[in-house]
Subunit: 201 residues, 2 copies
């Protein structure tokens, strides 16, 4: 075929973080701590932007799929943490609908509230619940743009049957965003959530 296959993969360090595939993350705090740890490692390893996400079985706390921002590593502006987690979960479960019959209800836990793109992706994914750490405002504070996202996005998700929980460990999650800025990665393109953004004066 003339046109290439597109591939999105997690960074190699993921296996060290998920050393026990049977590990259970029993509650929202444990699940959010995991998502934040993914974001932190992604920054520390230089493998992407300061965002982590993961999909869990809402009943058992079993991890289905982790995700991190892979935009620059994968040369793919779509590869935000939430999208990566959704794609991997769907690949593992063999379905485009994580809310399909026969599946346990699943939640997406994300270290920062979704951007406009990921908001739409959450709706199509089939997850039943979205749990957020840092707020949009925290991302904007370090120069990330959240995109054309409706002001009433929480209500828009809830009207589609997706419950939203905000501010879980917001401070810890926002600290990773600050860490990214402190590391002084070269940000060259203002106004993009993907990766490089304008250095905030």
């Amino acid at each position: 075929m003339r046109f290439p296959l597109v591939e999105v993969a997690l960074p190699a360090w993921i296996d060290a973080v998920v050393s026990d595939p049977a590990a259970v993350y029993p509650d929202l705090d444990a699940q959010m701590a995991f998502a934040i740890e993914l974001a932190r490692r992604n920054v520390a390893a230089g493998t992407g932007g300061p965002f982590g996400a993961a999909i869990f079985d809402m009943h058992t706390g079993r991890l289905v799929a982790p995700g991190v921002n892979r935009v620059m590593a994968a040369n793919c502006s779509v590869a935000h943490a939430e999208i990566t987690a959704i794609m991997i979960a769907q690949k593992i479960l063999g379905t485009w609908d994580l809310g399909g019959e026969g599946l346990a209800p699943l939640r997406l836990v994300t270290s920062t509230e979704p951007c406009a793109m990921c908001l739409g992706a959450v709706v199509w994914s089939g997850v039943r619940q979205l749990v957020c750490g840092a707020r949009d405002a925290d991302a904007r504070r370090i120069g990330f743009d959240e995109g054309p996202k409706p002001a009433e996005w929480v209500a828009a998700l809830e009207s589609r049957g997706i419950a939203v929980i905000q501010d879980v460990q917001r401070q810890d999650a926002a600290a990773v965003l600050a860490l990214y800025l402190d590391q002084g990665a070269l940000y060259t393109t203002p106004g993009r959530r993907n990766g490089p953004v304008g250095r905030v004066p």
Copy 2:
């Protein structure tokens, strides 16, 4: 690695449609006709939903990357036509930013206006222009949901430097949506743009 690589590929018939890799699509009409043809073939071949998109060099009309909806085929709710085209273009050009320095200005031509997710993806992609065939209303008429998209989405793109052109061959583009409905594919999940949607009474 414990977690799989995610792959998104175009259907095999794409090579027959793009038989001459050097082909130029000289104007918006030729470019939109191509995007609509992709949508039509995707329906006819049963390889995805009734949506096609393509990225072109705005100066020369050269095709950079085509895209079609691959949600059900790829088990990936993210694989809308616009997203597929963006990912493939970025892979071909080796960059996550299609608006980066040294690249020709690129436009995304899509057979139907973008859903909420693809709207965000357009912003992050780096394309300079978005050209649309069918309207959101045409997609809604056959039961597709466009997701939580701001009413003022055109202005939101234009404020970010992305020009929007609507209604290019809208009737032809909408006809493919109707064709999809006529084919009577089994739609089982109401309210999802991805693929299966509730049959409109």
